[in-house]
């Protein structure tokens, strides 16, 4: 990270609520026994990009599900600023995600019946923004990811890399403080993957907490911070 980027990151940190996990664990029932998917873990995610690395089945996705509030922990809590995500009701969690989180999935997960622009607009539509405002914002973000000329195309008319860039634009639509990316380059060729990563790095440089789940050490090397997960145990570095 360059000195300038670091300064910019620090400068914008104050606007982003801190993400903290306390004694977080997840145990799944399995047959007559139990599987410890995530051992007790306490951590404060700093601004910038944090890579969570580990082999398949190590517990990376379990961690992401808990951080996002998709799943409830067996013990501990996830806090964003003063809000304990774990204790919120389903609708309140959804509202909280809409306001503070952005998501980039491995398979872009765009809504197939909506155009690229409408997909980017969708979180803004959910938030009740007027059509004019959300269109302007969507086009601004599509321009940022270099796809303004593809605004009217449906997901099946876009390449994998283009669809993933639209997904990043969607994730940034509400200018969230936290961006969770689950293997965002997993299905992309190296050149397209680099483009996607540069967009995520740019998002992190603006002071967001970008948490990147990956099993690729080269991708992880681009992050400011690093967590390793093995057999459900998370360690720094």
């Amino acid at each position: 990270m360059t000195a300038t980027t670091a300064q910019k990151t620090e400068a914008q940190t104050s606007n982003t609520p801190p993400l903290h996990v306390e004694n977080l664990s997840r145990v799944y029932p399995s047959g007559e026994g139990q599987v410890q998917a995530l051992a007790s873990f306490t951590h404060t995610f700093p601004p910038g990009m944090t890579a969570v690395v580990g082999p398949s089945g190590s517990g990376k996705s379990t961690l992401l599900n808990l951080l996002a509030g998709f799943d409830s922990p067996s013990t501990g809590q996830v806090s964003v600023g003063d809000v304990n995500l774990t204790t919120l009701s389903e609708p309140a969690r959804a509202d909280f995600r809409l306001a503070h989180y952005g998501f980039v999935f491995q398979n872009h997960n765009l809504v197939s019946i909506l155009s690229a622009q409408e997909n980017v607009e969708f979180p803004l539509t959910l938030a009740g923004l007027p059509p004019k405002e959300r269109r302007a914002r969507a086009l601004e973000l599509l321009e940022l990811v270099g796809l303004k000329n593809r605004a009217g195309h449906l997901p099946n008319q876009l390449s994998g890399g283009e669809a993933q860039r639209v997904a990043i634009a969607r994730a940034l639509a509400r200018d969230p403080g936290i961006l969770l990316a689950d293997e965002p380059t997993g299905n992309l060729d190296s050149k397209t993957g680099e483009l996607v990563l540069s967009l995520l790095t740019g998002a992190a440089a603006q002071g967001r907490r970008v948490i990147l789940i990956t099993h690729d050490s080269e991708v992880a090397a681009l992050a400011h911070h690093r967590l390793s997960v093995r057999d459900g145990v998370v360690t720094a570095g």
């Binding site: 959804a94 998501f103 969708f122 509400r174």
Partner: protein, 386 residues
């Protein structure tokens, strides 16, 4: 999210599988159309009675047993009742008293069925049906009483191919010559054939007996009071026009219930088709719903989206059903106009509202289960992650 955005999204959700959605909507269309056609028969008959008979029949109809014998009672009332009623006329404000014999001449061929209506020739048809007018031939005169003469309603003349001068067989021994044909009134009267009272009594072996006595009042607004007085004094059933219409309404309501019951079967099948289509849509889009939930959609949004799809699908089918039903009604009326000169089916505003209301109800009920499933899905499972 605004409701326009929600309906737009639901519409696009439905149109992604055009053939499946189209076929399901067609199923609802056929179900609703069959219900509309079935129920329109009741509406049409109700309209005919209210608009045609209600306006022109007698103020009071006196018979032995009211409407329990149906529209045309047997001639079982002694004609002494006529003189009894005439005796009460000054006291009760009765303007005219007309003895009537009615008999239905049925046939295996529906169009050949007519009502034979006997009334005193001297009083003429206008005594009971003041709006009638002769289109061909002549009206009854006092000299016609007891003679074999008849005046045919427009539709009866057309169906039985009767013209002035034609011979009408009343039975093996009795015949009547058609001396007049009435102008069409687009009502049930068009299917009547009028005969002098004593001619029909003789032909039916009902000399000295009548089916009913039609009473016109000086003040028709007093019909209820006069009918009650006649019933009390003569120990007979005296019914007003409103009694008759109530009787028709009761009969139609029973008939409506039976026809609605039959329609219900197709509506249930249509509802199941909607439920199946919407449920399939939910299964196919589990990952998409998971994504929507992940990026901030509340469970209630997903539930509303699926319910809206179901409602839209049913509404489209319902509107199609009303349009198809209208075409069916047109076909039914073409047949009944040709047969009896009446529009037996009618699409009334309340029937349209009922059809659309039932469509929406069907959509709501059919969408409840898929909507519940979609809103309760587990995000991690929906996204394909454990």
């Amino acid at each position: 999210m605004k409701w326009t955005d929600l309906w737009g999204l639901a519409w696009r959700g439905l149109t992604r599988r055009r053939v499946r959605t189209g076929l399901t909507a067609l199923g609802i269309t056929v179900a609703v159309a069959s219900m509309v056609i079935f129920l329109s028969l009741g509406e049409g008959i109700r309209k005919v009675f209210v608009e045609q008979l209600g306006g022109i029949g007698p103020d009071i109809q006196v018979s032995l047993s009211g409407f329990t014998q149906g529209f045309a009672p047997q001639p079982n009332l002694p004609d002494k009742a006529v003189t009894d009623i005439q005796a009460l006329a000054p006291e009760l404000g009765i303007k005219t008293v007309t003895p009537v014999v009615m008999t239905i001449r049925g046939s295996l061929e529906v169009s050949q069925s007519v009502v034979l209506y006997g009334l005193p020739a001297v009083q003429g048809i206008g005594a009971v049906f003041p709006n009638s007018s002769t289109a061909q031939g002549r009206a009854f005169t006092s000299a016609d009483e007891g003679q074999g003469v008849a005046i045919a309603g427009a539709k009866a003349a057309q169906n039985l191919n009767l013209k002035v001068g034609s011979t009408l067989n009343l039975n093996r021994r009795s015949q009547a010559e058609v001396v007049g044909v009435l102008a069409p009134e687009s009502g049930l009267v068009d299917n009547f054939i009028f005969l002098p009272l004593s001619t029909l009594q003789k032909a039916e072996g009902a000399v000295g007996r009548v089916s009913l006595v039609a009473v016109k009042l000086d003040n028709p607004r007093q019909a209820r009071e006069v009918a009650t007085a006649l019933s009390d004094k003569l120990d007979l059933e005296a019914s007003t026009q409103s009694d008759f219409l109530s009787f028709v309404e009761r009969a139609l309501k029973i008939s409506d219930a039976v026809r609605f019951g039959i329609s219900l079967i197709s509506l249930i099948v249509g509802g199941l088709a909607v439920a199946n289509t919407v449920m399939m849509g939910v299964f196919e889009r589990t990952r998409e719903f998971g994504t929507l939930r992940a990026i901030g959609a509340r469970p209630s949004f997903v539930r509303a989206l699926v319910l809206t799809e179901s409602l839209l699908l049913s509404l489209v089918g319902g509107v199609g059903g009303v349009i198809l039903g209208l075409a069916g009604i047109w076909g039914v009326n073409l047949y009944t106009q040709n047969l009896a000169g009446i529009d037996a089916a009618a699409l009334t505003p309340r029937l349209v509202l009922l059809a659309l209301g039932i469509s929406l109800f069907l959509g709501l009920v059919s969408g409840l289960l898929p909507a519940r499933s979609a809103s309760r899905l587990n995000i991690t499972e929906a996204l394909g992650r454990v």
